[in-house]
C-alpha cells in the first residue's frame, strides 16, 4: 500500500504553522508559493522528470511544516530538496549542475518571476557566473540543509504521487468519452498546479482524493458528462473531501494572481529572506529571534548614552 499513500500533516502541525510563526499568513504563503515555483523551474532546467520534481515539492512542503521558514534562505532549501530527491531516485544530478541552475534562476538574466508584460531580461552571463568560492559555499549550505530536511521528515523520503492513479482512474472511466489527450492533459495540469497551493493539498489529502478531484475539475472545464451516480465513492473519496479539493485546486490561480499584485517583490524574481525582512519592517512588524532583539536593545542603550554625552557636551 506504500505506493499509494503518503504521511499526512497532523492538524496540530497545520495549526502551529499559522499561529506560532512571526510572519503573517500571506507572507508565509507567498514564500511557499515562490519556492515551489522555483523548484519547478529548476526541475525543468535540470531536465528532471516531473515525477522527481513533484516529489521535491512535497518534501519541501513537509519540511516547512516542521521547521521555521526563516531558518535558511528559501532558494537554498529548494535546491537541497531537489538535490536530495534526485539523488535517492533514478535520475541523480550533480551538485555542480544544481548550483549552476540556481545561480541562473536567481540572476538578473533569468525571467523567473518577472512581470510577464515586460520584455525578457538581457542575457548577461556574468550575472550567473559562479566563482569557485561561491560554488563551494552553496554546496556546503545545500549539504547541511539536506541533512536537516531528512532530520525534519524522519528520513522518510517516500512520496506517492496522484498522477499515475489519475490516469488509471481515467481509464476506468473510459476517459469520460472525450479525447484521451485532452482530458489527461487537463488532469495533470490540475495536479501540478495543486503542488503550488499554499493550502498544501498534498499534505492534507491522499493521492486517490487528489486524483479524483483533478478529474472532476478537468471534466467540468471540458464540459464533459460525468457518471450520474456518486462515482467518486468508487475511488474511496467522499463528497465532502472532493468538494474541498475541487475548490482548493480551482482557487490557486486566482489566489496567485492576487498575491503577486499584493506583494510587489513577487515581480522582481525569487523572494529572499532579506525581502521578507524588509517587508516586515515596512509593515512595522518585527522579525527575527531573541538574539537580534537583544542586540537591538544594546544598540538602543548605546544610542541613548551617546545622546546623553552629546547633551552634556553641548551643555558645557
Amino acid at each position: 500500500m506504500a505506493h499509494m499513500t503518503n504521511p499526512l500533516a497532523t492538524p496540530d502541525q497545520l495549526y502551529r504553522r499559522h499561529s506560532f510563526s512571526a510572519l503573517p499568513t500571506e507572507l508565509q504563503d507567498a514564500i511557499f508559493f515562490s519556492a515551489q515555483c522555483l523548484t519547478q523551474a529548476a526541475g525543468i532546467l535540470l531536465q528532471l522528470p516531473q515525477s522527481a520534481t513533484a516529489q521535491a515539492n512535497v518534501i519541501l512542503a513537509r519540511y516547512w511544516l516542521v521547521e521555521p521558514l526563516m531558518t535558511y534562505e528559501f532558494s537554498d532549501v529548494s535546491a537541497a530538496a531537489i538535490y536530495l530527491i534526485a539523488k535517492v531516485g533514478p535520475s541523480p544530478r550533480s551538485p555542480r549542475d544544481v548550483s549552476n541552475v540556481y545561480a541562473y534562476l536567481l540572476s538578473t538574466s533569468s525571467s523567473f518571476f518577472r512581470s510577464p508584460s515586460s520584455p525578457p531580461p538581457a542575457n548577461d552571463p556574468s550575472s550567473y557566473y559562479l566563482s569557485d568560492t561561491a560554488y563551494q559555499a552553496f554546496h556546503t549550505r545545500v549539504l547541511a540543509i539536506e541533512a536537516r530536511i531528512l532530520y525534519a521528515i524522519n528520513f522518510d523520503t517516500h512520496v506517492a504521487l496522484p498522477h499515475p492513479l489519475a490516469i488509471t482512474y481515467l481509464q476506468a472511466l473510459e476517459f469520460l468519452n472525450t479525447r484521451k489527450e485532452k482530458i489527461s492533459r487537463r488532469v495533470v495540469e490540475y495536479l501540478n498546479t495543486a503542488l503550488l497551493s499554499p493550502q498544501m493539498l498534498y499534505l492534507t489529502s491522499q493521492p486517490n482524493s487528489l486524483a479524483v478531484a483533478a478529474i472532476y475539475n478537468a471534466a467540468k472545464d471540458l464540459g464533459t458528462k460525468m457518471p450520474e451516480c456518486e462515482w467518486w465513492e468508487v475511488f474511496d473519496v467522499d463528497r465532502e473531501e472532493l468538494g474541498f479539493l475541487v475548490v482548493g485546486m480551482r482557487s490557486v490561480d486566482g489566489w496567485a494572481r492576487k498575491m503577486r499584485e499584493d506583494v510587489p517583490k513577487m515581480k522582481e524574481g525569487m523572494v529572499t529572506r532579506k525581502d521578507i525582512e524588509g517587508e516586515m519592517e515596512n509593515r512595522g512588524l518585527h522579525v527575527g529571534n531573541g538574539h537580534e532583539e537583544e542586540l537591538d536593545a544594546e544598540a538602543e542603550l548605546a544610542r541613548r548614552m551617546d545622546e546623553k554625552v552629546a547633551e552634556m557636551e553641548t551643555g558645557v
Binding site: A2, M4, T5, N6, P7, L8, A9, P11, D12, Q13, L14, Y15, C37, Q40, R62, V66, Y83, K87, V88, P90, P92, S115, P116, H139, L143, E146, A147, R148, L150, Y151, A152, N154, F155, D156, T157, H158, A160, E189, L196, T204, Q206, N208, N217, K220, D221, E233, D236, V237, D238, E240, E241, G243, F244, V246, V247, R250, D253, G254, A256, R257
Partner: protein, 473 residues
C-alpha cells in the same frame, strides 16, 4: 503558470457556486457545533440539578452523536474544545481509508541506553541497546558517513532506510525508527533502530557441530523464499543476499537484513544498473560476465548458494576473484552453451571467454548431484534450477515456495521446534568474518581474456581411467 494572460481555470460562476456551497457547508457545521455546545451546556445544568439522571443524559448525548453525520475530512485545525472528541464514534464509513501515518522530526539517540557492541568494522558499527521508556532491546546500526564525501549523506544508507521503512514482513528485519545524535544543529550521527535478532546464520553455521537437519533446511529456505518473494512483489531487489545478512532469532524465525545494496526496480528492469553488487561468492554468473540489465533472478542465484551452504555449512562457491568464481561456477553447474543459456555470448565479458570445445558425452553438465549425494531428487532439482546459468530459467521466489521439495518428507520443521543456540550477540563479540566484503562503488573489474579451456580436462581422464564406479547400470 499563473502569469499567463487568460485564466485556464473554469468559469467564475461555477467557482462562485462552489465557493458558496462550501460556505454553506461551513455555516451548517458551525451551527451544528454551537447547537451541540449549547445542548451540552444544558445537560451540564441538568446534571447539576438532578445528579441522579446523569446517566440518562449521557445516553441521550450518545444518541445524538449517533444521528449526526460525522465529519470525515481531516480537520485542519485541532479542536480546542472536547466536544468534538466524541465525533469519531460516528457511523463507520464504507469507503476505504488510506492511512499513511504522519511525519515529524527524528528522536534523539539519547532515548536508548547502549548495552554492548555487536560488531564493528567495514560494515559500520552495530550495538545492542535498550529503549529507556519501554525497556525494549533493539539493535542500533550507525549509518556510515564520510565527512569528506561532497555528495552528502550516502545514497545507499538513504535507500536502505527508505526500503526498510516501506517493508512490513515477518521475514524482513523491522526498522523501528531512525534517530540522530544529541546535537541537531549538524546532522552527523544517524542511527537505524532495528529489531534485535540474536544470531546471524553465518556464525551459527560456523559454530554448529552438526549440519542442519533436512527439515530445518526446508524451514529456513521457505522463510528466506517467502521474505524474498515479498521484496520482489514490492519491486525491491536485495542484491546482497548471503548467510551473514540473514538473521535468526531464538524462535526459529529468519529475517533478511542489510539493505545497503538494495534498490527499487521497475519492470522491465532499468538499463545500466551497477554490476558491482552482491558479495563475490553469491554473485550470479550474468553479473560476473558484466550484465548491466539484470532482474530478480540475481537474488535467486544467491538463494541457491545459500541453499548449498545450509546443507554443508561451507560457502558453496568460494572464488578467490571474479575469474576464479566463474571457474568454480562452471565446474559446478556446467559450461554455458547456446542451448542452456542462449544469450550469454552477448554479455560484455563473455566475448573474451574461451571455453573448452564441446565433447559429446563428456561430463560438462551440472555436477550438483555428485556434490550433494544425500540430497533428495526434489532437492537437487530445486538447487539445479536456482543455480541455472540462464537467469530466465531460475524460478521466481513465489514459484520456489510451491516447489515439490517442501511438500516431501521430511516436512519442514515447525519454527517453534527449532533448536536454540547459545546467545552470542548478547555479550560475546562475533567472530571476524571470512566472507569477502560486498563490492564497493568504483570501476568494475574487466575479466579480460580468460582461458577456461583447461577446465574439464581432468574429468575426461577420470572417465577414461579404469577405476570403479558406484553407478549401477
Amino acid at each position: 503558470m499563473a502569469s499567463k494572460g487568460k485564466s485556464r481555470w473554469a468559469d467564475d460562476e461555477d467557482d462562485a457556486a462552489l465557493e458558496a456551497q462550501k460556505k454553506r457547508g461551513k455555516e451548517e457545521k458551525k451551527r451544528l457545533k454551537t447547537e451541540k455546545a449549547r445542548k451540552l451546556e444544558e445537560e451540564k445544568k441538568a446534571r447539576e440539578v438532578e445528579a441522579a439522571r446523569a446517566s440518562q443524559a449521557q445516553r441521550e448525548r450518545e444518541d445524538e452523536d449517533a444521528t449526526r453525520p460525522p465529519t470525515k475530512r481531516r480537520r485542519l485545525s485541532p479542536d480546542r474544545e472536547n466536544t468534538t472528541a466524541t465525533n469519531t464514534t460516528g457511523r463507520s464509513s464504507e469507503l476505504l481509508r488510506f492511512e499513511g501515518g504522519a511525519f515529524g522530526r527524528c528522536r534523539s539517540v539519547e532515548n536508548y541506553d547502549k548495552l554492548n557492541d555487536i560488531e564493528e568494522g567495514a560494515y559500520g558499527w552495530v550495538a545492542r541497546a535498550q529503549e529507556q521508556s519501554t525497556g525494549k532491546v533493539v539493535a542500533l546500526k550507525r549509518l556510515k558517513i564520510d565527512p569528506k564525501d561532497r555528495g552528502g549523506l550516502p545514497v545507499t544508507g538513504l535507500r536502505e532506510i527508505q526500503i526498510l521503512k516501506d517493508c512490513d514482513h515477518r521475514n524482513v528485519v523491522k526498522l523501528q525508527e531512525v534517530v540522530v545524535g544529541e546535537d541537531t544543529s549538524k546532522i552527523e550521527n544517524i542511527f537505524l533502530v532495528l529489531e534485535f535478532v540474536e544470531h546471524d546464520l553465518k556464525s551459527i553455521l560456523e559454530d554448529m557441530p552438526e549440519p542442519f537437519l533436512a527439515s530445518e533446511v526446508k524451514t529456513l529456505l521457505l522463510q528466506l523464499a517467502s521474505g524474498v518473494s515479498y521484496l520482489h512483489d514490492n519491486w525491491i531487489l536485495h542484491r546482497d543476499l548471503k548467510t551473514s545478512n540473514l538473521l535468526l532469532n531464538n524462535r526459529g524465525q529468519l529475517k533478511i537484513a542489510d539493505f545497503g545494496m538494495a534498490r527499487y526496480v521497475g519492470d522491465p528492469p532499468p538499463p545500466k544498473l551497477t554490476q558491482l553488487v552482491v558479495t563475490l561468492w553469491y554473485r550470479a554468473p550474468e553479473l560476473l560476465l558484466g550484465a548491466t540489465r539484470y532482474s530478480q533472478a540475481i537474488d535467486m542465484w544467491s538463494i541457491g548458494c545459500i541453499f548449498g551452504e545450509l546443507l554443508t555449512r561451507e560457502p558453496l562457491l568460494q572464488g578467490k576473484n571474479e575469474v576464479d568464481e566463474l571457474q568454480q561456477i562452471f565446474e559446478l553447474c556446467g559450461l554455458p552453451t547456446e542451448e542452456t543459456w542462449p544469450s550469454f555470448r552477448r554479455l560484455p565479458n563473455a566475448r573474451a571467454l574461451r571455453l573448452p570445445a564441446k565433447v559429446p558425452g563428456a561430463a560438462t553438465g551440472s555436477a550438483v548431484r555428485a556434490r550433494f549425494p544425500l540430497l533428495t531428487g526434489a532437492g537437487v532439482s530445486l538447487l539445479n534450477s536456482l543455480l541455472a546459468l540462464d537467469p530466465d530459467k531460475r524460478p521466481a521466489a513465489r514459484e520456489m515456495l510451491a516447489h515439490e521439495y517442501f511438500r516431501q518428507d521430511p516436512k519442514p520443521k515447525v519454527e517453534a521446534m527449532f533448536p536454540t543456540f547459545p546467545s552470542k550477540a548478547g555479550q560475546e563479540r562475533r567472530r571476524k568474518r571470512q566472507t569477502p566484503l560486498a563490492p564497493v562503488r568504483g570501476q568494475a573489474v574487466e575479466l579480460g581474456s580468460v582461458d577456461f579451456s583447461g577446465l574439464f580436462t581432468g574429468r575426461d581422464k577420470e572417465e577414461r581411467g579404469g577405476g570403479f564406479s558406484l553407478r549401477m547400470v
